[in-house]
């Protein structure tokens, strides 16, 4: 297999905790993303699921170069972006885009839609100034908005329409990969479906690759052919969507799917025991598997040794010492 469009290799993102005042120097580091590796091919959509605080959003922001990683590589179209100086990175910026979770936060309320959509062009100095407006208009029509939207502020639009504007802004630089950071989480169900349909249409039309970040397994399964599961910054399982839902291999995946209503996960499988403590209650990750403290299948080994990711079946990998039988 040739090199994928986007390839993460042992990507690690950690932050210094605390405000970093004069007296607080050298306090602990918090690792949000811990040695994550995966690839996304051209025209592929990879889903990334996990509960709040699992590092999904941080990872997405690192992919579009909003946050500098503390370790590992982000390879895009054969180039390691993490090694590039900012000037050289500019060439890659238009090719990587992001749609943020909250469209009210991601658009300046005092900008007109025209300014919002054309801002990437202005900042990246793409195309002729005279073309910007026609480009913006074409994209707004493509995402289902009228020409009148151009001169209005984002506050005049509904949540679904704002997310369409955000999508138009992401498309304006003609990207190859778009990170979708929970693009539908703030919307009602019918609007979610329409946005997902729009995203699917656009993907086909422009041959886009998506990294679809969500906690909503249903939405992910609609758009993504493969899904990666993140738990406390560690990638615990990656598998084709259908297999993952039908027969989760990692106990955490099973627990996550167990939170779904029965009509999604299928009648035949009972919900795995939950009653697990919230993420924040867990202490720092020890030498073992990060999920071990909550895991009903944890062995002695799980607490002592971090499981390596290994292939299970054809296109499936799991990082677990004691995976569920279904997959094996």
């Amino acid at each position: 297999m040739s090199e994928p469009l986007l390839g993460l290799e042992a990507l690690t993102l950690s932050f210094v905790q605390g405000a970093g005042g004069l007296l607080q120097r050298g306090r602990g580091r918090f690792t949000a993303v811990d040695g994550v590796s995966f690839g996304i091919g051209r025209g592929e959509c990879l889903g990334l699921i996990g509960e709040s605080g699992s590092g999904k959003t941080t990872l997405g922001r690192a992919v579009v170069q909003l946050i500098a990683p503390s370790g590992g590589q982000i390879r895009f179209d054969g180039t390691n972006l993490t090694a590039l100086p900012p000037r050289a990175l500019r060439v890659y910026r238009p090719r990587l885009q992001i749609v943020f979770q909250d469209p009210t936060e991601s658009m300046n309320p005092r900008f007109t839609v025209e300014e919002i959509v054309t801002e990437p062009l202005r900042l990246l100095r793409l195309g002729a100034r005279a073309e910007w407006r026609t480009r913006a208009l074409r994209l707004l029509r493509q995402v289902g908005l009228t020409d009148a939207a151009l001169s209005r502020p984002p506050g005049h639009f509904s949540g679904g329409q704002r997310q369409r504007i955000a999508i138009a802004r992401a498309l304006v630089t003609e990207p190859e990969l778009i990170v979708l950071d929970e693009p539908t989480s703030g919307l009602d169900v019918s609007m979610q479906a329409r946005i997902l349909n729009l995203l699917r249409d656009l993907q086909g039309q422009f041959g886009l690759s998506y990294l679809f970040i969500s906690h909503d397994v249903g939405a992910v399964s609609y758009l993504a052919a493969r899904v990666a599961v993140l738990y406390r910054g560690v990638l615990v399982e990656i598998a084709p969507t259908r297999e993952l839902i039908a027969r989760p291999a990692h106990p955490y995946t099973a627990a996550l799917l167990g939170a779904l209503p029965q009509w999604v996960r299928g009648r035949d499988r009972a919900a795995p025991p939950s009653g697990a403590p919230p993420v924040s209650a867990a202490g720092p990750i020890g030498p073992g598997c990060p999920y071990a403290p909550r895991c009903p299948r944890a062995l002695e080994r799980c607490r002592a040794q971090r499981p390596e990711r290994r292939a299970v079946g054809a296109a499936r990998e799991v990082a677990c010492h004691n995976p569920l039988d279904g997959a094996a």
């Binding site: 922001r61 909003l66 300046n108 900042l123």
Partner: protein, 290 residues
């Protein structure tokens, strides 16, 4: 410019009243305050065109006349028309305060934005400097300056502008810190936006309502400070009238029983400050969604 070019000032409508999210009719505080203030402004600048008696003409035979048809506000200790003096006195009182507040807003906005956008240690230094400035009482500072600089409308504008910006600077700096972590600012940074661009395009517009509110309060403050200075004999110098100076003069002459020399300048100052505070408070309520 071709038809398809982006409209450079297309955002301007977003900065108007809409920034405060409402209609005039829904804002009795703002509307009434503004009406009163505009009446005062008209009194000072249009009044002299209608009531043409000179404020400097001395009439030794008509000293301390109470209000009458010919002298609606009476006459002062030199027999000058007090109405004319009140009208002309409004010009430096309101004018210096308004322009001085614009100066203060510009400095405060610049300092606040620079501090908020600077690296944390620069920000810290700038803010401690601000604390030091805020600790100095304005009036005392003004008395100090008034002792070294020749007083006139221009020097007063500069002095008042120079002493009354720190409050706004702190507010702006805090707002900038809040705004610069927004996703849209991060996104702009991702596209290689420089700090100057963020300040100009994103933050300046966000600061607009705060600056407007602060400006109204500052004008009111400056009217009072200026009146206080004139009252002490440090503001606008006689024979040029100013409301504060007239009030000071009137209170010195209180023993003559000339109540109109105290009532009218006092009322004018009160109305100016009250009306501006109504406007400011109304806008603030709106901003905070009350």
């Amino acid at each position: 410019m071709s038809e398809a070019a982006p409209r450079r000032w297309g955002f301007l409508p977003l900065l108007r009243w809409g920034a405060f999210g409402g209609r005039w009719r829904a804002q009795p505080l703002v509307a009434s305050g503004l009406a009163v203030f505009l009446v005062l402004v008209a009194f000072a600048w249009l009044g002299p065109h209608l009531y043409t008696i000179s404020p400097y003409a001395i009439h030794p035979h008509r000293l301390f006349r109470p209000p009458s048809a010919r002298y609606p506000f009476g006459t002062d200790d030199l027999g000058r028309s007090f109405l004319a003096r009140m009208m002309y006195g409004g010009q430096p009182s309101l004018g210096v305060a308004i322009v001085g507040s614009v100066v203060a807003m510009l400095i405060g906005l610049g300092y606040g934005m620079a501090s908020g956008l600077s690296p944390p240690w620069v920000d810290k230094v700038l803010m401690r400097l601000l604390d030091a400035l805020l600790a100095l009482p304005t009036l005392v500072l003004m008395i100090f300056f008034a002792a070294i600089v020749p007083l006139g409308p221009l020097s007063l504008i500069v002095l008042l502008g120079l002493v009354s910006w720190p409050g706004l600077a702190r507010i702006v700096r805090n707002e900038v810190l809040a705004y610069k972590e927004r996703d849209y600012v991060l996104a702009a940074r991702q596209y290689g936006a420089r700090t100057a661009y963020l300040a100009r395009k994103h933050l300046l517009r966000a600061m607009f309502p705060i600056v407007v509110v602060n400006a109204t309060f500052t004008v009111a403050d400056l009217i009072l400070t200026l009146a206080g200075l004139s009252f002490l004999g440090l503001g606008i110098q006689p024979p040029t009238p100013s409301w504060g100076g007239l009030l000071g003069n009137g209170s010195n002459l209180a023993i003559t029983g000339s109540w109109w020399l105290i009532l009218f300048p006092g009322l004018a100052i009160l109305l100016a400050i009250l009306s501006l505070n109504l406007v400011g408070q109304g806008l603030l309520n709106r901003l905070e969604g009350r």
